[in-house]
Symmetry: C2
């Protein structure tokens, strides 16, 4: 019996999507693949049959960096070729040999991440946090509407969806004390984010303009920026978040290329006051991507990437405006994506009003984030990023 | 005429030192070397002659990571073997063939840096900054004496000594305005720091204790954390320094292994109040390393690494206390190393009292940092980290 490629209704991985990832099977180590329906198309194997017009050895590596480095003209054409091949060979024994059921594969981090940056680009999130932790009257700090605030994060502890997350131990200051303690966090949280993967190296000293930025963005994935609020709160002044974040961040395994998201481009919120010329970006530079967070079986948040005040082009232009260079595989995350209504808040910090209307994460909880655009055969989805909380080490 | 290995008086690179680096020559690409006197011992070539008991192919790579990954028992033994070989073969034609005048070689970044972390561990520096920018009465923030404050920095823009540094352009808020502008920084500064190179991978979720930390530290180098004070000031609340730092950081080319510094171990300052058990580190865990900064021909700062309030073992234990993993090649910098007297302040911010008693860096200025311990044939030095300021792009 020949395995037929079937794409279930509501699948995130339609022929309109074709996201790239890295997988392994018991018989063969890590290599490139494309998610389609409930299967993975083995790109390394397909490359060996000679259908591509580039050196297909880059598909047989444990990360996608070398493939992405070939440039968008090559990676986009490869995706179109795969699209054509999937349609042409539909039902053939040849096609069946190249498909691996996703359930039988192990998914890995898709890229080697050089640097990871986390932005803070949702105005609703920044306002909620400012209101709770600083002055409710001046929730947004003076710089916030003028530049996409961001900070450097830890790359080494970024893990792929499915990796369990151990509750971190850390130094914190109990509210009723002035002696810090070293204890498991009592305020473990998720942050619903998306991240983009840099697709092209830039030169040190040469900024990327808003207009050029898209050329440097390969694709997007879901990002859970796990946070320990009590550790963060005690440590973060004056140099920013550190151990409250660096114990783990989780990414979804499939990178959706920017071109698959083109039909879902939308305009972003109006920026008031107007931004400086180096940040001005006309047109539809946001994306309409529905996002959800579940804790165990309960949906706790419904948000959308389109709420972002600062778009990815602005983030990248700002990041490189001082001459800072970027490299293929760098990850830039959005910051928590909250909307205007309380059910759209992207963290438990906001959803529970700092723990006063519900609890932070408990040991054994599983957090699942999903995201998609469109529907039916045009649906372009991200699959999910999942993590289960393990108890603290003792 | 046979080239003799001679070590000039006051050389940083005595037989007691033997630091590792990466160099290239017109006839051969990047490979490992050891600095000795004014020469470089070509380790890749020496490895080919079979004197080492490990696979010497790791010496013929463009970075030291694979060599360092072999572990301290191997790298220390290699260093001892080289020491013996240099003495035994002194003056021989064989030895001469393995020496390359440093002046004829190009020096490169010695490691591929995964993550770069910058601490803030000098109490004098933190106090000076707090006094100028926050409240002089409460210069030190409440967390400072309880944990080594640090933040994640940008790894992609770390460059080797000698690389020119372009004055960054960025968003800043003039003091007499409430409209930000996008201009070249007016307050370009250096920061005198040292950094250590991580020598061993750790596992995600498994902290490194203070007692184990030394095993994870391969060696040290000089570090100039270039800073644009006006960009930094406008952007850094609430998530910390970002573009005010990420345009460039410079390192000295030679990594001095920790064992070469053993004779210069000293006790650090007393820590009051006492620190939590996970940070308690008895014994001589600081190092007596004289440091100097010159701007052009003028010495502007004389400091010493021994002033550090938090030592490297504490930094590493704290950094991994939440389970964050480290990888070979990660860089952890000390933060600006200031002493108690004004001539020992490690930045122009402090030396000029925020620009009121002198100026920040001008285009064309060259900043040179040097550092060494001991004297004569026991001297162990770091060479220098040098950078010249290029005018901003227009």
């Amino acid at each position: 019996m020949i395995k037929l490629l079937t794409i279930p209704p509501d699948s995130d991985f339609t022929l309109a999507n074709l996201p790239f990832g890295i997988f392994s099977t018991p018989d063969r180590p890590r290599r490139a693949g494309i998610a389609v329906g409930d299967d993975i198309l083995d790109l390394a194997m397909l490359g060996e049959s000679g259908i591509f017009d580039f050196d297909a050895a880059v598909l047989n590596r444990p990360v996608l960096n070398d493939f992405i480095t070939l440039g968008k003209s090559v990676t986009s054409r490869a995706r179109s070729q795969v699209q054509g091949w999937l349609e042409k060979e539909q039902g053939s024994p040849v096609q069946a040999r190249h498909l691996v059921p996703m359930a039988e594969a192990t998914l890995h981090l898709p890229v080697q991440i050089g640097d990871y940056t986390d932005f803070y680009s949702s105005i609703e999130h920044a306002t909620n946090v400012g209101r709770m932790f600083r002055d409710p009257e001046k929730a947004l700090l003076p710089n916030w509407r003028h530049l996409p605030v961001g900070y450097h994060g830890r790359a080494s502890s970024i893990v792929v969806s499915g990796t369990p997350v151990r509750r971190p131990v850390g130094q914190l200051m109990p509210s009723d004390s002035n002696h810090p303690v070293f204890e498991p966090t009592r305020r473990l949280d998720f942050e619903l984010e998306m991240a983009f993967v840099v697709g092209k190296d830039s030169e040190l000293g040469r900024p990327i303009s808003v207009g050029e930025a898209e050329e440097y963005i390969f694709g997007m994935l879901l990002f859970n920026d796990w946070s320990a609020r009590d550790i963060q709160r005690w440590e973060y002044v004056p140099l920013g978040p550190f151990l409250g974040k660096s114990f783990a961040s989780s990414v979804s395994p499939w990178i959706v290329p920017l071109e698959a998201l083109a039909p879902f481009r939308v305009a972003g919120p109006e920026q008031t006051p107007g931004v400086l010329p180096y940040l001005q970006s006309g047109g539809a530079n946001n994306y309409d991507i529905d996002l959800q967070v579940r804790v165990n079986e309960t949906t706790v948040c419904r948000s959308n990437f389109r709420y972002m005040y600062w778009n990815m082009q602005q983030q990248l232009a700002h990041h490189t405006s001082n001459g800072c260079n970027v490299r293929v595989g760098d990850l830039m995350a959005s910051g928590t994506i909250s909307g205007q209504t309380p059910d759209s808040y992207g963290s438990l910090l906001e959803l529970t009003e700092n723990g006063t209307r519900g609890s932070f994460l408990r040991d054994g909880d599983t957090v699942t984030m999903t995201g998609h655009s469109g529907s039916g055969s045009s649906r372009v989805g991200f699959g999910s990023v999942v993590g289960r909380i393990l108890p603290a080490r003792n």
